[in-house]
Symmetry: C2
Subunit: 264 residues, 2 copies
DNA sequence: CATTCTGGTGCGTGATACGCAACTGGATGC
DNA sequence: GCATCCAGTTGCGTATCACGCACCAGAATG
């Protein structure tokens, strides 16, 4: 069900299988040895040994003795080391935190990950009405402000890939028409920021702006998001300016000196 | 620095090596194939194939073509799936977010991970003066409020293990004496919460309370932290009560019905 | 209480992951 | 500007090692 065709993976067979186990657990949440074996198409004993090795490194964890397996905290440890080293997060965090305090809304940093937006870091605003923590989540590109920014500045061809399939409708206001989306993205390139009002969830509004790396390409997107009743149409443009400014500061910290250059 | 001797790891050799590569990268940040090979004690070609397989799954990433390797965003993806499934985080997040809004300080959820505290999730408060994001970080048990809670309620023997080595001094106020620490932990068990003032960083104060699982054991610790000038001595007890209440609510969501039972 | 799941474990064998050696291409030396 | 060195990368043959088999132990189902 719903698996992406990744038949290319070669490399070391057993390692490849072990990593597939991690992906399976990420997708299904909890699996038994037999289920894993079935999914991989190997013998149960093979699956067991793979899982046991993963468990030695705390990457998977067995609920109760002789129970099913799920991802372990070793994964969180690794991720902490990963994001700590990622330049975008390291430089973006203080700026994002300040922005969150200024506008009082939740700030997120997301990057382009294949055909989705991957949320790397989040700084909460002052509101009690707080959206969930999106860190580590992946969300479709056409329904969020971050996604629109990332897609607008993405390498040519990516847009066609994304719009090749059907665009999932999340709410009534989700943009599901490719032509309509293309127009929006052109507007994003023009203004330098993107918005999304009630497009992913009803009552959720967001503004996002691109973060440029030293080489001038867009490496991430910075957004502020909050409830629609607070991020009203008139306030949105003011917040957008702040988001753009914050994103520009992160960009300059990453060694970007130029001005936004379109169509490059 | 500070590596633990893990010679027990058996299982599937190549998988074991591949996972060791991930740990090495987490520790060193960036490594070349030859360095990895030297650390593992294998041939360069072997290390290369392991890394290549990891790269196929986005768990490592090569900077520029023919460059060094670092951890990849696949790790972040996995971690997102991991924490999303962890009961403590799932149940703790809404409660923690509300607490963060109420007290206006940063809220963290941490668990006991070997001999350190592992920070799983963070909900930022209203202040612009915001501590770093600690998610995924591991910190010594004796210098933070979360660590004290986790150590106080830890299985017997853990205290001796931790105090067997020397307790690292972070600031002037860090508790580095084992007897002094034992007293504090007893007080923690007595009051039901722990504090740490200027013990990890000067100017950083925190309060933490235990989260109980359905079986009555402590599964996590919930803390509120902020600048010492704002979390003054008189305010601290009030905040402590709120933290304790929040932690208790998370506990009940996890299926814990009893009252705190000491020395169980 | 038989049956049938489950996770877990020795063991022999053949697939496979390993080390070797050679290739490539950038950096350094002189 | 050529030689040298060291980096990451690749084909190949072989010995290792990871695999599947058979089997064990406990839980759940009937």
């Amino acid at each position: 069900m719903g698996n992406e065709g990744e038949r290319d993976s070669a490399g070391v067979q057993s390692v490849d299988r072990a990593l597939s186990v991690l992906k399976l657990l990420a997708r299904h949440g909890e699996l038994g040895v037999s289920e894993i074996a079935a999914e991989l198409g190997v013998h149960r004993s093979t699956a067991f040994r793979l899982v046991a090795t993963l468990e030695n490194h705390d990457l998977v964890h067995q609920n109760d003795e002789r129970g099913r397996y799920r991802l372990g905290i070793g994964v969180v440890r690794l991720a902490g080391a990963t994001t700590a080293r990622l330049d975008v997060v390291r430089e973006g965090r203080p700026v994002g935190a300040r922005l969150a305090a200024e506008v009082g809304e939740t700030v997120n940093i997301a990057i382009l990950d294949r055909d989705e937006a991957l949320y790397l870091d989040q700084m909460a605003g002052t509101s009690a009405l707080q959206a969930h923590n999106w860190t580590g989540r992946r969300i479709a590109l056409h329904a969020t402000s971050n996604g629109k920014v990332l897609l607008a500045y993405a390498p040519t061809g990516r847009f066609e890939e994304v719009t090749a399939g059907r665009l999932t409708r999340f709410t009534e206001r989700t943009v599901t028409d490719a032509a309509r989306l293309r127009e929006e993205l052109d507007a994003v390139l023009d203004r330098g920021y993107a918005t999304a009002v009630d497009e992913l969830e009803v009552g959720l509004t967001a503004v996002a702006a691109p973060v440029f790396g030293a080489d001038g390409t867009v490496v991430a997107s910075l957004s502020a998001s909050g409830p629609t009743f607070r991020l009203t149409a008139e306030r949105l443009s003011a917040v957008a300016a702040q988001v753009v400014a914050a994103a520009a500061e992160v960009s300059s910290r990453l060694g970007w000196y130029g001005r936004a250059r379109f169509g490059q």
